[in-house]
Symmetry: C2
């Protein structure tokens, strides 16, 4: 299915007629697949869940353990490029495939750094990227011995994902929530805003960032409530976050895209919190809101195509559709009719067969010429649209 | 895969959890599939070509003759809604499925009218829609006997598609290009502009049109060269074409979408040329240029969802990527790199395995805040991007 794009006849049937394997078959893979159709490139998925969002999509879908070295290597056998839609994959499998001469993007080394918060923070420090001051710890005993000032944050080195593996320790009474495992403790950021920048870099070294987006918190629940793009920050912050993103992509020798979550502190400084070298929840809205989506950008980057323009077309907001508390089973999207009737509302369902509380079942992107209208529209969507069963 | 969208609990698992069968698996089916993923609805395709653009897409793809009654009925057996992406399908098969109680959209009756130019023109006349004055003819002898003024147009009743089945007769010497078959002769329009309006209507009777688009002709080749959206016409023409489109959708009892090709005459009048009750080449640019694409709109209409807003986001142009003359075989897209680097250029490849001269291999949509920049950008794309082999 892959086609030959060429500027020079030398490129024929070479540069771009490649089979892409994706480790993971969740919603990020699903949106990568949507972006692949118009480029006519061939995607193959592997995921442990036979009912994953990509189960019926792509040139092939295989059920398999993406954390098992041999399974990963076997999956890659007839593929040319291997990429990820989740970081929790077999590092050893990626190393082996690289040694076999396959193109692995992002590199096994970069994925390895990101898989471990100790290595990730160490990378920021070593290369002079601003991040919360931290110390590496081996276990709980060591944390106690260091006797850090409250509040502090304890992050587990390996295995922490989706908010798990992070504890905010505010007092002696919280100390039992520290991890008795290798990890880091870091100073708690005095946060003005949480920001994410998605940066892309192709093999040629071309680098480009999407405008920073802002994660808007629900002050009651202290959870990310929705995302707004572009971030409502001053030009100085825009320039600084973009420079950090581009520099980090280069220093990490990224090929693909990477989401960089940052804190804008109350004193105006910026700290890098953590990175995810793949399509990211904070880039969903680029499908409608930007000239190029993060998904097509990732494909362009790993295929060594020119990167797409990342300018904003219209301000946008993105709200995750989470399973309602108290419902488990086949999902019902209550209020969908009303949302579909709303100008500038884009519903993305992930095709998950079962809902459970807080499971990401889809998202809604809202675009509006007037950015200040977006928070109100998000409120409306959240009030009307419910995932029940 | 289909999900339950509901406003009222009564709707659960009923209104929208339907399997959709599509007769035809070409590029229009491919773009319908792209639009189906985010709604998580299940599409099944049938096409006679095992290498059709939808061959690897959808919940299933079956190779079969869409003009054979029994094959069509067999295809529909386990499906709930049947729709088309091409009009050349078995009318008898559609009738049978309707009698079995299946939902066929657009209706077998409407598809039957559109399949035959005599019936289509008769419909316009009967319901008072403006169209070129015409006479029904049985054969060449009858055309000669009528002795029409030159120039006139002869259209074959059945079997004329994609520009075939239409002859412009300018003099006695052209008379041998008339069809010796049932058809119509009509007055040749004195065309200022060719315009297309895509209208949607759902089962509830909600009707909405996309802004009119303009087909820009190449004066040398006298062929549609590219399309520009919205059409560069005055407000009066916009209002009149929209009113005609909405009224025709109602009179035809349309469920789905329909492209209505119209002539804006030099004297300012508007004539309806012909209709296609399905996604259409003249609506490709709606994917990027409008709040809702024609593809999602068609799915919304046949699923009886609220129709989407059709406003223009940015002015757009669409140019078909045709196979270059002199090349036949596996396609190579020369110049693709350069086009991918262009802000606001969207490349859509159809996944066809072989190119041949003038075959539609893909299209490029261009968006620009300044509509007057679009023709120049189209020229650039046409100069740079070539489908060879």
């Amino acid at each position: 299915m892959g086609r030959n794009f060429c500027l020079n006849p030398d490129d024929l049937g070479n540069k771009l007629n490649k089979k892409i394997g994706i480790l993971g078959g969740g919603q990020l893979g699903r949106m990568l697949f949507e972006a692949s159709i118009d480029l006519d490139v061939e995607l193959h998925f592997m995921d442990p869940d036979p009912a994953a969002p990509c189960a019926n999509l792509g040139a092939s879908f295989r059920v398999g353990d993406i954390n098992d070295k041999d399974t990963v290597v076997e999956f890659g056998k007839n593929l040319d490029i291997i990429t990820i839609e989740i970081e929790r994959v077999s590092r050893a499998g990626l190393d082996l495939m690289e040694n076999q001469g396959k193109e692995v993007y992002p590199s096994a080394n970069l994925i390895g750094i990101v898989q471990n918060k100790i290595l990730q923070k160490g990378f920021f420090e070593e290369h002079g990227f601003p991040t919360a001051p931290f110390k590496v710890v081996k276990n709980l005993t060591e944390i106690r011995a260091l006797n850090p000032d409250f509040p502090f944050v304890n992050k587990i080195g390996e295995g922490g994902y989706d908010g798990r593996g992070v504890s905010v320790i505010r007092s002696d009474g919280d100390m039992n929530r520290c991890f008795d495992a290798p990890g880091i403790i870091e100073e708690m950021a005095d946060i003005q805003k949480e920001i994410s920048v998605i940066v892309a870099r192709n093999k040629d070294g071309e680098v480009t960032s999407f405008p920073a987006v802002e994660m808007v918190f629900d002050p009651r629940a202290n959870l990310v409530d929705f995302l707004i793009s572009p971030a409502r920050v001053d030009r100085k912050v825009e320039i600084e976050t973009e420079a950090l993103a581009n520099s980090l992509a280069e220093k990490m020798d990224l090929v693909g895209i990477m989401a960089i979550e940052m804190f804008l502190l109350n004193d105006g400084r910026i700290w890098i919190n953590e990175v995810a070298p793949r399509p990211h929840n904070s880039g969903h809205q680029s499908i409608e809101g930007n000239y190029t989506s993060q998904y097509q950008q990732h494909l362009r980057a790993i295929l060594d195509l020119p990167l797409g323009n990342t300018d904003t077309i219209l301000p946008s907001a993105m709200v995750n559709l989470l399973g309602e508390e108290g419902y488990e089973g086949e999902p019902i999207f209550e209020g969908m009719d009303e949302i579909l009737g709303l100008k500038g509302a884009y519903v993305h369902l992930y095709g998950k067969k079962r809902t459970k509380p807080f499971r990401k079942m889809g998202h809604v992107t809202l675009v509006d010429e007037a950015e200040d209208q977006l928070p109100g529209k998000v409120e409306m969507v959240k009030k009307i649209l419910k995932v029940k069963s």
